[in-house]
């Protein structure tokens, strides 16, 4: 679906860069980008979502160069969920989710009956219906996150790119959300790429874990193959920890032991 070849990118004004990224995003992938702070995970996701421009190399989305897409065309294929900062101006939960319908309606935003039904169904599914008239800015960080995901679902794109979807969420909501993302893949055939700092959550849910460090992809494979003691030590520079198998799922889990960074 998306093919990235020899991608290089440098921010103007600071030294950070992405170096020679090669990546295939395949239909039905459920993958996690994992890596230290400042490794370039968000930058990579934002480049794929066409939020950041000015890269070199080749990115094709369904065999067409990313740079040749008009935003309305790309928005029907790829949706992007940013970190859930509050907005300058107030909009209701319903309004924000309705913005996800933009690819199907005009610039005046007149919703058809079918659009409203879809939005309400999504609000229901994400347990947001009771809050539909509440101001987005007054929600907790976790609720805002859920609203933005609901907005991306309303967009009906096949590929969902998410910047840290579970940040700010308690464990109940982390699981609530990851279950829904998994269902999107299993029932709706969506392709989901998310950034996570939670190695165990990535390990349990993702089928593919991509480690990024200093602007480069250092490992890419099934959780079992890449979440190893050696890799974690190299990527994060920590020494005192264990990798153990979750007896129920078989996925590798990282157990923290205090001290010794």
């Amino acid at each position: 679906m998306i093919s990235i070849k020899n991608l290089n990118f440098k921010y103007a004004g600071n030294g950070f860069s992405l170096k020679n990224i090669n990546l295939e995003i395949r239909k039905g992938d459920f993958a996690a980008f994992v890596g230290p702070n400042g490794a370039g995970k968000s930058t990579l996701v934002r480049i794929i979502a066409a939020v950041i421009k000015g890269y070199s190399g080749e990115i094709t989305v369904e065999n067409k160069e990313l740079k040749e897409y008009r935003s309305i065309e790309l928005s029907k294929k790829v949706s992007y969920i940013p970190q859930a900062d509050s907005h300058v101006f107030n909009f209701s939960v319903f309004d924000i989710v309705a913005m996800g319908r933009r690819p199907f309606i005009g610039s005046m935003g007149l919703l058809k009956k079918s659009d409203i039904e879809k939005i309400n169904a999504i609000l229901n599914d994400y347990e947001l219906y009771a809050k539909r008239d509440k101001s987005f800015n007054r929600l907790s960080g976790g609720e805002r996150r859920t609203v933005l995901i609901a907005k991306a679902i309303a967009q009906e794109a096949d590929i969902l790119l998410m910047d840290e979807p579970t940040t700010y969420l308690d464990i109940h909501h982390q699981i609530f959300l990851m279950d829904r993302l998994r269902r999107l893949r299993e029932e709706n055939g969506k392709t989901v790429f998310f950034i996570s700092h939670n190695i165990n959550l990535a390990s349990e849910y993702a089928q593919r874990v991509i480690f990024i460090k200093d602007g480069e992809i250092v490992n890419d494979g099934k959780p079992k193959e890449v979440i190893t003691k050696e890799n974690i030590r190299k990527i994060y520079g920590i020494n005192n920890f264990e990798i153990e198998e979750n007896k129920k799922t078989g996925a590798p889990n990282l157990l923290v032991v205090p001290g010794n960074v």
Partner: protein, 325 residues
């Protein structure tokens, strides 16, 4: 939605009431009966009152409503495009740019000073915006600083022009303080057409502007053509400001305060905020102008003084009373 329709209708009624009052009071007080007759039958009895109503007060009232409306609408647009509730035509330098364009137009003997005023407004916002992009992102501090600096530069240039071409100082005061006493009916006619076109365009792309106001990056990913929408609205805001300035000089505060107040009532949805800001801007400026021409009868003071006197305290009050914009 129903509440918002009621509110907009209420504002329209209020506009009518203020208009009727403004027609009535002044150096000569005219009864409502006479006003009615003058407007709808063309005859009010006393010939002089007829002229006062149709040739003096009415054009000025329409001028005040249009100018206030344009500034309110322009302010609402700039705040949304720049994602900054402190933006308005004045702070971004557009007003002063337009005033400079108009002054150049006058010096060069143009009859349609609206055109250089609009063009200079568009150029100003594009320059100010360009200077405020730091590492690919809009930096609001730079924007406001550049806007204020460019604004002062243009004010200085206007004064320079006026000294070189030895126009009288009152003319300069007109551009810098704002004044509605020179309402010109011939200009009002084009102004009306431009305003209507700008308003329709503004409403047509209104939801894209909503999405843009929640963040440029996200807007692009749901299919909004971000650069196009920004450019369109910069042009609309500059055209509106350019016309307003050609009609009445630089009037501050309307563009800043009115969208703020309206946001409290109708929310941030531009499909409601823009018409509400237009109508309320009109009401506000008409009220201010009516006060300006009647408070020290028979003398008249520039309306900019009144909008500043009302606008500044109201704005500070809003900031203190409401933490969230």
């Amino acid at each position: 939605m129903k509440n918002k329709i009621i509110l907009l209708s209420g504002l329209l009624v209020m506009l009518l009431v203020v208009t009727a009052t403004a027609l009535k009071i002044g150096s000569i007080n005219i009864s409502f009966m006479e006003i009615f007759k003058a407007l709808f039958t063309g005859h009010s009895g006393a010939q002089s009152n007829n002229i006062i109503i149709t040739d003096i007060r009415l054009p000025r009232i329409i001028d005040a409503i249009l100018v206030g409306g344009m500034l309110g609408l322009s302010g609402a647009i700039l705040q949304a495009v720049l994602k900054n509730p402190l933006s308005d035509p004045f702070i971004t330098g557009i007003s002063s740019g337009s005033a400079f364009g108009a002054a150049i137009g006058i010096v060069m003997g143009f009859t349609m000073i609206i055109l250089p005023a609009m063009a200079a407004g568009i150029i100003t916002i594009l320059i100010v915006y360009r200077f405020s992009i730091i590492y690919g992102r809009l930096n609001i501090t730079y924007l406001l600083l550049t806007g204020v600096m460019v604004g002062s530069l243009f004010s200085a240039l206007i004064m320079l022009l006026s000294s070189i071409f030895s126009r009288d100082l009152m003319k300069v005061m007109f551009w810098l303080m704002g004044d509605l006493s020179g309402a010109d009916t011939s200009v009002l006619k084009y102004a009306f057409v431009f305003v209507l076109a700008a308003f329709i365009a503004a409403m047509y792309f209104a939801n894209d502007l909503n999405i843009l106001s929640t963040g440029e990056e996200e807007a692009g990913t749901v299919g909004v053509n971000v650069e196009f929408i920004k450019t369109i609205y910069f042009i609309i805001a500059s055209v509106l400001t350019g016309i307003a300035v050609s009609l009445s000089g630089v009037i501050g505060f309307v563009g800043l305060v009115i969208p703020h107040i309206m946001r409290m009532f109708v929310g941030s949805d531009m499909r409601w905020l823009m018409p509400a800001s237009f109508i309320t801007g009109g009401i506000f400026l008409l009220l201010a102008d009516t006060v300006a021409r009647t408070i020290f009868l028979p003398a008249e003071i520039p309306v900019g003084i009144i909008t500043g006197l009302i606008g500044a305290p109201v704005f500070i009050f809003i900031l203190l009373a409401k933490k969230e914009v």
